[in-house]
Amino acid sequence: MSEILLPLAVAVPIVAATLPIAAGRRFDAIGWPVAALTTTAVVAMAGTVAREVYGTGPFDHELGGYAPPIGIELVADEFSAAVFLLVALVSAATLVFARVVGPHRNTFYSAYLLLTGGLVGVSLTGDLFNLFVFLEIVGLTTYALIAADRSGVSAYASLKYLVVGTVGASLYLTGVGYVFLATGTLNMADVSTQLQAVGYTDPLVQTGYALIAVGFALKMALFPVHTWQPDAYQRAPDAVTTVVAALVSTVSAYALLRVSYSVFTVDFLAANDAITTGILVVSGVSILAGSALAAMQSDLKRMFAYSSVAQFGLIAATVGIATETALLGGIVHLIGHGLLKFGLFLGIGLLAAGYGTRHVADLASLARDAPIAAGSLAVLSLALVGIPPSIGFLGKWYVALGAVQAGGTTGGIAGVAIAAVVFVSTLFTLAYVARVLERLYFAGVDRSIPVVHDIGAVPDGGRSGRLPVAPLVVLVVTAIAAVGLGFAGAGFESLLDPFLTEVFT
């Protein structure tokens, strides 16, 4: 029964995406209701699928009744169900914010629904080529959404992302081509068995994986190839940044973990030291550079954009470490980071809508005017640093623990080095988060005297000095969830245990 939910969850948003355009000819503001209704339905489907997966176990659906390996299948297992749930919840919650700050055009909501469909597709697909198609659906709609405010600057940021993102996806496709040459199949489960027969040190397979990893690095914005990301996040409309920062790179990182662990498997990673070392170096540099660059920013959105570079470095590092604890940490951090970035960009966007704050300096003593939003922002930033109890701490803890364990068992310094890098980057994170908190709470500015702003870009809705209630509620709930999930370490471990056991046997 619930198998049919998998294709529906992909198809419903994509089909519904046509409605705002079609109905928009007759009704003016039909986009938001359609999007809200659809994403709510997707949340319901995600909830049902998650309950089924965590209750009775993974299941799949063969599209069109063609059995894999020739047919395409959609798979819901412990890992994909978690990402699916995150995608559904965040895309529904962002709409609450988008209703207030816009964009309000019907076409925006069409693109938004297409994005949701693509994200769900990436998280559920069990086919390598199908993954490419969904990645490109996500990519295309993201480029369109980033340029949704129709300014030249955002178009330039979007085009930059388009070029880099397409190269990334194309490199992934080339890698898939190499794997296809080696194995003659595209179904993930089948490729993983065929690879065993071909051999993990076959140059074709190695090149294929290298191309795939580089492709995802571009999409996730790891350090040397991250330059599109801060521009894209900064120039996009606030509602778009919220959803893009929370989900788009997240599903690319999910795809990297999925392809590395489920398709190429740990045996491949163990057999190719050069590849894992390369990944560890890139992600280590990414963690440090991302954190350091974030600490140098004064634009709020840009600051947290660079912080994403560091956090995705942490997630990519789990591929290099390749231990059970590290993978658990990678998954927890993937979900946690998505949630935290959603909350942070929502909070920043809300304050920008209410008070026109774009830079750290603008935040001066804002906690007096907006105690709830500032408080939630503070909680979320501290969770990003990794202060327990929070989801941010949990992910970092497992990754660092896995790294130390790997270093302990193999005697290699790589694991210990990664743990040290995580520690140093935590200090950097604290450095930029502390700047935000200091401005918010201890700037000592009397806000009863109106502050003169000299920024050109007035956010939609102007500076009313009041925060809309509905998104504020979402923000508070997110902050509570970020802390509450920090207590759920054992829960994550037992829920993801079947997946981890399958990967590591």
């Binding site: 020739i70 080529f129 300014s151 397409t166 040459l181 071909v198 521009d231 004064s298």
Partner: protein
């Protein structure tokens, strides 16, 4: 799944390892063309200062990948994979890569469309498609930090420091 492409692929590697460069070029010309097209596309993408030419480079890059897939389905003496009820004929070329490439072409076309639409908007706003001129304009406008090529290495020019 047809095992043909797998056989073709793995032997290709074996052949490559044991023959001279000349043999590779004469017998595996499709793969050589793939590599050349890929590199040309990537070079145009990186080196050309014109945004539209960058998109052309991107197209070339993607076309190279299509070529790789189509080549992987080729079988010596194979015919079009339309199997009639009496099932005579064969061997056939593998139809799967063709279907894949068809989908990938659609993806590529949509990407080109979005890219060109963005180019149009940039041209409307700034009157140029050259990246270097565009950077200068953005820098004058204050949206791109001065003296930074990649953008964002230093804090923004319109940053908050001056107003603290």
């Amino acid at each position: 799944m047809m095992p043909i492409s797998a056989v073709d692929g793995t032997t290709a590697v074996g052949v490559l390892a044991s023959t001279t460069a000349f043999d590779v070029i004469t017998t595996r010309h499709a793969y050589v063309a793939f590599a050349l097209l890929l590199c040309t596309g990537l070079y145009v993408l990186i080196a050309s200062p014109n945004l539209v030419k960058k998109i052309i480079g991107l197209n070339l890059f993607q076309t190279a990948i299509f070529l790789l897939f189509v080549t992987s389905g080729y079988v010596e003496g194979g015919s079009i994979p339309i199997v009639y009820p009496d099932a005579a004929g064969g061997p056939y070329v593998s139809p799967l890569p063709h279907v894949i490439v068809l989908t990938a072409i659609v993806v590529g076309v949509s990407l080109t469309a979005v890219g060109l639409a963005l180019c149009l908007r940039i041209y409307d706003e700034y009157g140029t498609l050259r990246v270097d001129t565009l950077r200068e304009l953005l820098r004058e406008e204050g949206t791109l930090p001065a003296g930074s090529e990649a953008g964002g290495r230093t804090s923004d020019a319109n940053g908050g420091e001056s107003r603290e």
